[in-house]
Symmetry: C5
Subunit: 353 residues, 5 copies
């Protein structure tokens, strides 16, 4: 849904309000600034769901339009127009929070600084909030999944993990887009100057408010500051992705280890069963209805039975010790440990002057 | 197949039509613009299947040739020549859609802007369509494959996934090529100026149509806009690739978990079989045709049988509890949880001024 | 082996032939161009196998030396010297194909353009041929390996795959080196000018042949064209590498799935064996030479036998249904599907203006 | 906690001390330098836990503020203000070590050089210490985990590894942030000049102290030096990450190998059990209470028993040899070894001139 | 250990020797060149193990100091000072090889060129030697490990592989550092000029030796040449790393395939055992001391025995054929092969003009 919110400060308010009213009705074709025109084209193709994509060109030519990761913002020295094609609850924020914040005249800096800061702060806050939503869930899920006591990964936890790592990579993309749009402005000095609207439009206010302050430099610091905050968020997401990868390796090693342990137990029992079957064959043989010489020998039963049990026990023990030897195939102790020659690191000690 | 479509607007039409007719017959050698000449060489080596690679140099020197990811487009202020060596159904699009679109004189901007926009829009649409084709299939397949209830991955689904991730990486390459060709123009200001044909050829029209509009800046905005759309598509494909990777990890963990669960069940049953075999040996022993002292003792049968069943039951229970202890090898609870010191994130809360 | 092939065109031929003859004998120390001198140093360390590394400095100072991925080429307006330290069959190509090609005077462009184009074309063709050799083998091998019907990967196929992916990464390196050497020239405008030899040495020919053609721009287009062909090859190899990676994942999932299926079958049979052993114990008990009350009961045999078979059958069925429940651990259906909120993609439909 | 430590040298000390005292009380709104103002904003949002975020603007305009990976430092020619919002024990370092170090007037270079060097050295030392903490633990853990004698990975070791690789990636991020902040200064020559405070403020001292020394170049060397130290640390962490990855592959191969060995043993025993069961069936058959012709044949018992044992032994041997053949599926020896054609490397021998 | 080796040529020898003698004793504080001073600082913190870190400033101001991957080299027109804090056997090389090499006056180029070339050549040779040490070991180990006949990877081979891939990544880092230090000089033209010492200090020698040779260009070619050699080494290590990765995948597939084959055999035997147990139960039943109607029927024994063996054989065969069907779950042949539409590659044939 298209949303044109205008928040103005000072004498420009009525005019801006009128412009806001006009947003829904006017669609000038030829008088539109070309820059806006082409963006409109792209909006057109993006917002086919929304009925109309209307754009108001203000009388004063001193507006700056800017796209912060897909939300287009138009800034004049006296009013702020936010065009929101997403409807991400931005409206409530605009009306409830931004307006009073910008209306308070306590700050000495021109309107465009305050407006820009508010928008950037809101954007960074949104990204931060999304990270704050995703991070604890991922950490909890991983903490649960890497638990070495677990034999098999809980499938619903994996589901949660997959959902959240999808959200995480979407967040990463959005942070990257936000950073790129800031970087594009920071890389070109003239774009920064364009943002300093008051400097060009209102020389009187400009001289009055800035007592030797360079507006452009200030603007650069403002943008840089938010760029660094975005970068910090980006680092955070990158670390989180790395943590997921590392944890998956640990989960695999855990599962494999469990399997190996179970397989060894299984093998030991199979050895036992084999011994019992082998010596049980003697019992089966004596159980045949065939004449042996020992039918009436009273000691024969105990001898054969004892042989059966003792024999299978002995064979089992032999097999177990064979297994033990087989699984530790005498790696020659000559092979040196791998990292011992890495001791050269330690001599790069932090120097004390 | 070589396809030379010329769409013109305004007075240049007949000349352009004649040129189009000449495309098949004329092959000037020395008068060709060098730039075109070398490209022709490369076409020659690419289109060995097509019989001839003919290229028409227009009388007016005001043409711009441009290669949008392998389709070469030549643009003059009054006509548009699209050279298509692929035959990807571009012809139908040209005749049915582009011509009427460009013919409509409702727009105030010069012809080259409208033509360029139409071509770029078509290109982006094609890429978008390919992504729209691939994405739902991949998502459905993954949704099916990560289903935790599935014991073994469906092999035909894997086939579909492999086919689509191949298409996806081809799409990624095409998006990258498209972005690079746009970026190359955007990086050089003089190349952008070259595209503003009207500005140089038709000063009268130029002054008339542009009421203070800077053609170059407008051209830059146009190209930038489509660059950003392409970047968005690129981000989308990258996320999709990441999702496939993440899902594969989850599939592996799922399969491994299933295997561990089955292996534990198997091990438990092997334990049961072992106990039964062990105590069954007693029965076998008593089944031997050897004299024991208990042949006529009426309680002996019940005692021995009871001992067999109870004994194997008890041993099984011992083995099971041993397994339980063995698989949870008392990780000392002293080890702190891994992520608890990560709480410093939470104090970087979104600030309210 | 050192190979100095000189191919000249026009009046310079005898001189160049003489120079070619001199290649093997003359080794001037102080008159050598520094650029060549230092390269000679590097050649010296590369070609220790070859007896001598001789280098001829031509009388005319208008030569350009250039290293196309390790083969050094020296170009003068009238002759072309290719120094090949590899002996990769380049000799045959030079004598049989390049010479007649360059000798034909049908082209209007100066000699250095034709020579450079021939060399670049040969280089690209060589890379393309290597890719054409490797690609179908890899595709066939992968096609065979990802076949879901295969229980275990054919080890000889794996061998072939490993060999070819090694060739592929060598090819990738060579393409990268070729691209880098082209890019280095393209990045510096003065290096491009250096290549336009005729422009500087033969102003008469220059003015005559170039009817308003800018040699430098033409040279740039020529190099750019081959750069793009190389990039296309690079993209192809990258996609192929990605395909190998994806296929390996699919192979792993296939193998794991097979294993899980076999393990379930194994588990089901183990359950059957367990049931049979358990109830077989009854038979063993009755087979003991101990007195029971049922020896002469004619129905006892059928009762006990029936109990044995029916009991083991029932127990097996219980165990199988337990397995079925155990492997599908009621994931609560509340968990939403993962990708459903991804529907926002679909509303970025390709816009029709 | 906010911490304003001021360390001054020379005549400026009392004034700076007074300023330090004022830090807690004064909060000028309009006279603040814009650069500081915007940073204050960001501090505000970072340090919501801390009660106030106060900032003192010094009288002299010759201060430089700089953010070394999140700690803000303000430098004047005569005093150094470190603003620490983290409380990472920086206070102790400031008071105990930095102050006496800076107070000693033995060095010939201006104050800002010594202060900057001390801060950078402290920062690098901190990073180095963290690496020194993490590295030996990781190496020890990996050394233990890749031990080929281990059947299943120790889960507590894995826990330790995961914790430390998390610390490592946090360290990597911090090194990257530190390097970026240095690189940003090094990339802009004018920012380096800004740091040479003495040059601009105290020309007399400047000319006196620097006997032909270029302050800017010196500053660049100073920063470059610490940049290279940070890069070395970055290389170290990268290598360590690679080592963890390689070790994980080795761990997996180890675990898989163990499993294969156990599975072969298991299979061999299963073959034995199968043979015994098969021939045991003969014994069971003869144990049936059914009339055979051999009941009274004294040799029958030995013949049948011998047949049972010998037969199962023979069958087992057949099965084992079948297994041996089955697992080595005659890969044709025609397939050449993979790397033999790689011998071309050896002829790029280090050349001796 | 600090090692100051001075190798001079020509008349400057005695003075340089004296300076070398002074290295151990003099430590001027204020007269040191700033550039050296700061490096000294960093040396100080690196070489805390070495007792002193002394640095001699030469009388002539025409020295250039340069850091080739951690070894600092100071070059004057007449002498060469190598400061080695590592003691990697550099001393022997310096005394035995470099000195006579530089002393020979056969070359026409100034001293600094020869010295620089010797140092770079030595550095490249060292890197090449390390690669030559590591590469054959890795190739042999991989060749052994990917052998498809091997059931389980040899653990000592894995150990060797891990050690060598660690050496390889250390080598990779060193090559990168070397390349970066060369690239830093190549990127700044003025740094290259600084290296041409003779040009600035000894105009007479300069004009004499260089007959129209541009020293700077020559220096650039010299550095570029060694940069390309280093890049070639870098490519080699990268390929080797890729080969290790690919081989690990193949090892995993091999191990998995072996496991699947063994598991199928195991499953087939388990099926056999199950059949035998099932029909053996009949024998056990008839072995019970219970009255059946068949005790005296002479055919009964043969009938029941035959039924037991035939029945278990039949059941086994059914189970085996069931297994065969189960593992090949009729993938519909409708699914097209994956890569068939990739035929478009083949039409990009190498063009013949």
């Amino acid at each position: 849904t298209l949303l044109g919110s205008i928040i103005s400060s000072g004498p420009g308010w009525p005019a801006a309000a009128a412009a806001a009213a006009a947003v829904e009705t006017v669609r000038p074709k030829d008088s539109v600034t070309p820059g806006l025109r082409w963006r409109e084209t792209s909006w057109g193709c993006r917002s086919t769901a929304s009925p109309v994509s209307v754009l108001q060109k203000f009388e004063s030519h001193n507006s700056v339009s800017w796209e912060i990761s897909r939300d287009i913002t138009i800034l004049t020295p006296e009013s702020l127009l936010v065009l929101d094609f997403r409807g991400l609850g931005l409206e409530r924020w605009l009306v409830l929070e931004l307006a009073p914040q910008l209306a308070s005249q306590t700050h000495s800096l021109p309107f465009e600084f305050r407006a820009l800061e508010a928008i950037l702060q809101h954007k960074v806050n949104t990204l931060q909030t999304r990270l704050n939503d995703v991070e604890p869930v991922i950490l909890d899920t991983l903490e649960y999944l890497v638990d070495p006591k677990i034999l098999s990964a809980d499938r619903s936890k994996l589901h949660v993990l997959l959902q959240n790592s999808k959200s995480l990579s979407e967040l990463e993309t959005d942070i990257k887009v936000f950073k790129d749009s800031l970087l594009k402005i920071l890389d070109e000095d003239e774009m920064i100057e364009e943002f300093c609207l008051t400097k060009w439009t209102d020389p009187r206010v400009f001289e009055e408010s800035s007592l030797g302050i360079d507006h452009c430099e200030e603007m650069e610091l403002l943008l840089e500051n938010y760029f660094m905050q975005a970068e910090e968020l980006g680092n955070k997401t990158r670390e989180l992705k790395g943590l997921i990868d590392d944890s998956e390796s640990v989960i695999f090693i855990n599962l494999d280890s469990h399997r190996n342990v179970m397989m060894r137990l299984n093998l030991q029992l199979t050895m036992g069963s084999f011994s019992l079957t082998l010596f049980g064959l003697i019992g089966v043989a004596f159980g045949m209805n065939l004449t042996t010489a020992f039918e009436d020998d009273p000691r024969a039963f105990w001898l054969v039975t004892g042989f059966m049990f003792l024999g299978s026990g002995l064979i089992w023990r032999r097999l177990l010790s064979f297994l033990g030897r087989h699984l530790e195939p005498g790696v020659p102790p000559l092979i040196p440990p791998i990292w011992k020659r890495n001791t050269k690191l330690s001599d790069i000690k932090p120097g004390v002057r």
